[in-house]
Amino acid sequence: MPEPGYLLAAVAVSAAITWTLRALPFALLAPLRRSPLVAHLGATTPVGVMAVLVAHTLRDVPLTAPSYGVPTAVALAVTVGLHLWRRDIVLSIVAGTAVHVVLLSGVAG
């Protein structure tokens, strides 16, 4: 069983590195705040970040074994379709997740 001292050190190291990665880039970018390139990147990166996060959360979906990612594909279609139609963030998430749980639990059960 890990000792409390070791666990505290692990938490401190993780927190310090995470905070540095989150805060330091602002200091580095500060002199460039008015540059057109940084403004351009600031406006265009969010779509890329979201795509990368979505792909990351889906990296373990099995595409070559049953159920071949079908429940996830259907849930994605429901989420995107609902959001384009109704633009209600909570509704899109809850409905997409519900479809995913029903399809996947059905397959597993």
Binding site: A10, L21, F26, T45, A51, G96, V101, S105
Partner: protein, 224 residues
């Protein structure tokens, strides 16, 4: 109070996703043999969802601190891109800036990167971040205490996090309706996962940033 109430509404979607993920993480901590309150410590002090999952595996295997530091660097290096769009200039005051950067999670970034967030005040940005942290710490603690047990047959709740980023991605797209940009973004993200697996996020963002730089240079060349 108006800003705080608005922030509660803004962060509701994250609350749904955080609940699904947080309870799952709390349950894992409970099963790992650590005291339940370590889940609360991880969630409130580190406050980085995916790193907490990785860290739990490392500390239960008694991994050396150097390995833990390396994992933190790899898992969270994507955050360096968030300074490009997060409105820290609107969060005045050193203490407020310290909290705002500490709490700059994927979810906080995603919420403030949407067009709706352009007019948010300092107080509203900070309140959104505090709500996100409250949802995360609360659901992790509930999961660790076993107070909320997901029935064994129910699988696939983690899709809530995917759905959150899909939805906020669509909202970010609506700000510019730049179709080539969105297609390249999806391509880079998929390529990142195919090529780099564990470092997929950094690879995907690196590719996409390279594309944006080239596109900016080409557009600048045309203007000149």
């Amino acid at each position: 109070m108006h800003d705080v109430r608005a922030a509660a509404r803004d962060s509701l979607a994250v609350g749904v996703a955080a609940a699904a993920m947080g309870v799952a993480f709390g349950v894992l901590v409970g099963q790992s043999g650590l005291a339940w309150w370590w889940a609360t410590v991880f969630a409130s002090v580190i406050f980085a969802g995916s790193l907490e999952f990785v860290l739990l595996g490392l500390v239960t295997a008694l991994a050396p601190l150097g390995q833990i530091a390396a994992a933190a660097l790899v898992v969270n290096s994507r955050h360096v891109f968030y300074a490009l769009s997060f409105p820290l200039h609107r969060v005045r005051g050193p203490l407020a800036k310290a909290y705002s950067t500490f709490a700059l999670t994927d979810e906080a970034y995603a919420l403030t990167a949407t067009p709706a967030a352009r007019g948010w005040s300092r107080r509203r940005i900070l309140a959104v971040q505090a709500f996100v942290q409250l949802y995360w710490v609360g659901s992790v603690t509930l999961g660790a205490l076993g107070g909320v047990l997901v029935p064994a047959g129910v699988v696939g709740l983690d899709f809530a996090v995917t759905a959150l980023f899909v939805v906020l991605g669509i909202d970010a797209f609506r700000a510019r309706r730049d179709v080539p940009n969105a297609l390249v973004a999806v391509g880079c993200a998929v390529l990142g996962v195919v090529l780099a697996d564990a470092r997929s996020m950094l690879a995907g963002m690196g590719l996409f940033t390279a594309y944006l730089l080239v596109r900016h240079a080409v557009a600048g060349g045309r203007r000149a």
